[in-house]
Amino acid sequence: MKKIIPVAAATTLAAAIAVGTAAPASAGIVLYQYNDYSTSLGDFGRGTTFVGSHANDKASSIRVGAPANYAILYQHRDRGGDSRRFAAGSPNLASWNFDNMTSSIG
């Protein structure tokens, strides 16, 4: 289910890695489209009942930072389906069988 990275996006990805991909200060729960915190899908604060069509089923990594203290990723909207909790995050959601699965965040 891994996404194929287009050439242009791959160039951007390489640049992002070169300059570092740390989440900005005061970011809450940030989902990323690719592994290793690459290409942000948005800062979801402390959670949402639906991540939006732009991010639905697209997250491959996650970082949790203040002011959020944790994140629960859910398979379906409205905090339904399988779930996985993180206090720090994961650079590779595939290792949790949760790649391209997140629809809501608690």
């Binding site: 289910m1 740390a22 200060a25 005061s26 970011a27 959670g47 009942t49 639906f50 089923d57 930072g65 203040a66 002011p67 203290n69 944790y70 629960i72 859910y74 398979q75 379906h76 909207r77 409205d78 905090r79 339904g80 389906g81 399988d82 779930s83 996985r84 909790r85 993180f86 206090a87 720090a88 995050g89 994961s90 290792s95 949790w96 069988n97 391209n100 699965m101 997140t102 629809s103 608690g106």
Partner: protein, 289 residues
């Protein structure tokens, strides 16, 4: 996640189980990858889930070792807060860990198959009630500079606890694999499928339009406003209870968890030993040692 993806993953998991070709009498296999080997629940007839209908919380055999258990989670949050405070004090800023109640929190409603707390649905619709989950001290009123420093200190605190996070979040441990494996087997068992079908049929009989992708009430109810959202959520929860579907599904999950705890006894024992060591380390951090 859509139904096709869910079916795909379930099918892969079931295929992996079938390939393993084990029976109840085989020696305990070494777990590898994510999916666990086939397991039988024929000797787990007495195992049931204890359901808290007011809060939508299911108590099942895995709870006693799960890393998601509120008391363990809270220790992890507390340790991060203590380390964050140390960093903040070094910068001459106010520590806040002592302003949070670190007692185990009331867990969120478990909506693995949909909402089933009529009380919550009646009041909050699909939103989480404000008293569920960990309650933290809100640092936002302390201003921009404070929160910039807080975010940096939070990150360095987590970095200082990376051995803890390597255990809890580095890769799926046996508890998570048992939990997800058991819930997948529960919903794919004949009795589980029948329970879900009766739950959904009850909702449709009450006039609720379900989303074919996930089987939940259509997202349009939420878009129509709180009254419509609450109506759909209440029907979903009431049908879960009235049809007995929620009890059937969690009972099945409980039986599979119990069976896996037996089958994976060696891996579980090793996991529990590591969990205790991590907990001891967290206690030491919290105590300032």
């Amino acid at each position: 996640m859509n139904a096709r993806q869910a079916l795909g993953i379930s099918t892969l998991a079931l295929a992996a189980l079938a390939i393993s070709g084990c029976s109840a009498g085989d020696p305990e296999p070494e777990p590898s990858g994510f999916a666990l080997p086939k397991v039988s629940i024929t000797s787990q007839e007495d195992v049931v889930a204890k359901l808290d209908f007011a809060h939508g919380i299911a108590n099942t055999p895995l709870d006693r070792i799960s890393l998601d258990e509120p008391a363990f989670s809270m220790k992890q949050f507390h340790a991060v807060a203590v380390r964050t405070d140390e960093c903040m004090v070094e910068r001459g800023l106010e520590p806040v860990a002592s302003k949070t109640n670190w007692s185990p929190y009331l867990d969120f409603e478990d909506r693995r198959w949909g909402g089933w707390s009529v009380d919550y649905a009646s009041e909050y619709g699909v939103d989480a009630p404000p008293n569920a989950g960990p309650q933290f001290f809100d640092t936002l009123p302390l201003g921009v500079e404070y929160n910039k420093a807080f975010a940096q200190c939070d990150e360095s605190a987590k970095d200082s606890l990376k051995t803890v996070f390597a255990f809890t979040e580095g890769a799926p441990q046996i508890d998570y694999r048992i939990r997800t494996g058991s819930s997948n087997l529960a919903e794919n068992a004949p009795a589980g499928r029948k329970a879900l079908a009766s739950w959904h049929a009850c909702e449709e009989k009450a006039g609720i339009v379900l989303d074919p992708q996930d089987g939940y009430p259509s997202a349009q109810y939420k878009a129509q406003g709180k009254e419509a959202e609450i109506h759909a959520a209440v029907v979903q929860a009431q049908c879960a209870v009235d049809t007995g579907a929620v009890q059937t599904l969690y009972d099945l999950q409980a039986k599979y968890e119990a069976a896996y705890l037996d089958q994976q006894a060696t891996a579980v024992q090793a996991f529990v030993k590591k969990r205790k060591a991590v907990e001891k380390h967290l206690d030491a951090v919290i105590a300032g040692r």
